[in-house]
């Protein structure tokens, strides 16, 4: 684009980008590398190559039950956040609401508030009202922090769509429900899909709420990893972390295919 950039600056820019990219990816590379080490302790660079730690993860009850909990929880959160956030985004986009801006801000607010503050509040409220924390608590609180993502992605897609589609559908005889289901929802689909993947990722990776609301029988995968890290991690932690990284890579590719990640770089 911009031509006539002095050569030393171009070289500097490349070095800068290379170093930054390395810094960003370094911890992930290290984790993946450590996971295939033959050593009994975590090391980088890795010694040899082996998949024993992956085998160990798959045969570990702790990891597998944590993974099952995280996966089920993430699915439930995805469904709830997508339904709630998608419906809200449609209504907010239409602007025919009392205080549309305020309502829009309320739906985005869990994104603004540091999770730790919300986590304390949720723990205290739940304890005082229902006593023990259950998986239901995690489901609700993850849904609260995942919904803004769905609202945002859906609003982003809607704001790109032709604003006259609903009116056009009216002049073609579509009633209220038909307009919603046959015109508006199909427009939202890419945004809903992207939001759903973000919601899944958020819940699956979430550590703060899960740590505050942790109980021995309510250990999600990130909490399991965290507690291993607090004591003496062996390379099986690296293996399970690598699996999580792989899942994230898959999600990013899927999101890119569905909506294109560039879209979210400019919003």
């Amino acid at each position: 684009m911009v031509k006539a950039v002095p050569l030393p600056l171009r070289i500097l820019a490349r070095v800068f980008v290379a170093v930054t990219v390395l810094g960003l990816l370094a911890p992930l590379i290290v984790v993946v590398a450590a996971s295939v080490s033959e050593n009994q302790y975590i090391s980088f660079p890795p010694q040899g190559f082996s998949l024993i730690w992956y085998r160990k993860v798959l045969s570990s009850d702790d990891y597998m039950s944590a993974a099952a909990l995280s996966f089920g929880l993430a699915l439930a959160v995805t469904v709830a956040a997508t339904l709630i956030g998608g419906a809200a985004a449609i209504a907010i986009h239409r602007r025919k609401l009392p205080y549309p801006q305020l309502i829009g801000a309320v739906f985005i607010s869990p994104l603004m508030l540091p999770t730790i503050i919300y986590a304390i509040g949720m723990l205290m409220l739940w304890s005082s009202m229902f006593g023990v924390v259950t998986v239901f608590t995690l489901w609700i609180s993850h849904t609260i922090i995942a919904t803004p993502y769905v609202v945002r992605t859906t609003l982003a897609v809607l704001s790109d769509s032709d604003p006259f589609l609903e009116e056009a559908a009216r002049t073609m005889g579509a009633n209220r429900l038909q307009r919603l289901m046959l015109v508006v929802v199909p427009q939202c689909l890419p945004g809903l899909a992207a939001g759903a993947f973000f919601a899944f990722n958020l819940s699956f990776d979430e550590a703060v709420l899960s740590l505050f609301l942790r109980k021995p029988d309510l250990t999600t995968l990130p909490v399991e990893i965290y507690s291993k890290l607090e004591f003496s991690p062996d390379p099986s932690v690296a293996a399970v972390s690598s699996i999580m990284i792989a899942l994230t890579v898959v999600l990013i590719i899927v999101i890119d295919r569905v909506v294109g990640i560039k879209k979210f770089a400019s919003t």
Binding site: D162, E167, A168, A169, T171, M172, G173, N175, Q178, P186
Partner: protein, 347 residues
């Protein structure tokens, strides 16, 4: 076939009135243009006929039936939007069939047949499986048109449907719209800000200004006899010059500020202070001869012709002239005009 009747339509948004009691009778099969600058209320009026906007007061009836309180989906209308509003998730064919599905017109097989026929009308049968995004602007425009006519609505509403096309395509589509209207005879309400479009397409032009009907009539009436200063300015952008009517040798003449006189039609009855509306394309320019003299200030080359800005009696007059003779800045010239083409507006 149906007629549309608008009865004292008023519309205001809060304290701001955008339509001040518009009444209009549209005959069955008539093609009417609502012409005006942006913000004149023409689109609002169209949306009121569609049912997309509610009236503040007044009544609308279609085919003798009062539809004022009916929502758009219950009115037998079709509307074509400026942005075309094609549903991006449906292919071309399903877009065209959509109004039939929604209005439950015919069986599935009949719907397929009607949609195919409508697509054939706009010569797009071969693109039925495409998505709107894959079409050019002109093709999208035709799909929107097919979708608007597929249900044989009582009233066809067109909201600046040609404004997003380039000049060449627009001319082609104008011809196509005229032919389509002839063939189907749909009562059509066409919104445009383009006077040429309005004059060439419609049976009747309704000129709107600030929420009032400024003038209405056939295209030739509107063009030849603009009733007001606004109309003369909007249609063909006339030169407006103050003059006084005097009588010389028993004939009415218009005397300009510098005492030069312009002959008027023999039967002209107006007297006193008037404003002359002179069309650029009605005037002739010569190096000498009879007429009013002035000085060329600027020449703008337009290809087929030249536009001259001529100073006359302290005012500037724009004249469109052929390329036969070329005058330079400072050249003295004589302007003449057929007395019948001079229009007088009261001051």
């Amino acid at each position: 076939m149906s007629d549309v009747r608008l009865d004292a339509i008023m519309k205001s948004y809060g304290p701001v009135a955008v339509l001040h009691g518009i009444s209009l009778d549209i005959r069955s099969g008539e093609f009417i243009s609502l012409l005006g600058a942006s913000g004149c209320g023409k689109t609002t009026l169209l949306r009121i006929v569609a049912g997309l906007e509610e009236v503040t007061s007044g009544r609308i009836s279609i085919d003798g039936r009062d539809v004022t309180a009916l929502p758009p989906e219950k009115r037998d209308i079709a509307m074509m939007f400026q942005s075309y509003a094609l549903l991006p998730h449906l292919n071309v064919f399903e877009n065209v069939r959509f109004p039939l599905r929604m209005r439950k017109i015919g069986t599935r097989a009949e719907q397929m047949e009607m949609a195919a026929a409508a697509l054939a009308t706009v010569q797009l049968g071969h693109l039925a499986d495409r998505r709107p995004r894959q079409l050019s602007g002109g093709q999208q425009q035709r799909v929107a048109l097919a979708r608007a006519i597929v249900s044989h609505p009582k009233v066809l509403l067109l909201d600046e449907p040609l404004s997003n096309l380039d000049a060449r395509l627009r001319e082609d589509m104008q011809v196509e719209l005229i032919e389509l209207h002839k063939r189907l005879g749909l009562t059509t309400l066409f919104v445009t800000h383009d006077q040429d479009e309005a004059l060439s397409l419609s049976d009747r032009v309704v000129l709107l200004n600030n929420g009032w009907v400024e003038q209405q009539g056939s295209p030739s009436e509107i063009y030849d006899r603009p009733a007001t200063e606004f109309a003369s300015n909007f249609i063909g952008s006339a030169n407006l010059i103050d003059a006084t009517i005097v009588e010389r040798d028993g004939r009415p003449m218009a005397m300009l500020a510098d005492q030069q006189c312009l002959a008027l039609a023999a039967g002209e009855a107006a007297r006193g202070a008037v404003r002359l509306a002179l069309r650029q394309e009605d005037m002739q320019l010569a190096a000498s001869g009879s007429g009013i003299s002035g000085t060329v200030r600027t020449r703008v080359f337009l290809g087929a012709q030249n536009r001259y800005v001529v100073e006359v009696a302290g005012a500037t007059i724009r004249v469109l002239a052929a390329n036969a003779a070329v005058y330079a800045t400072g050249d003295p010239v004589v302007l003449s005009i057929d007395p019948a083409r001079v229009r007088l507006l009261t001051r």
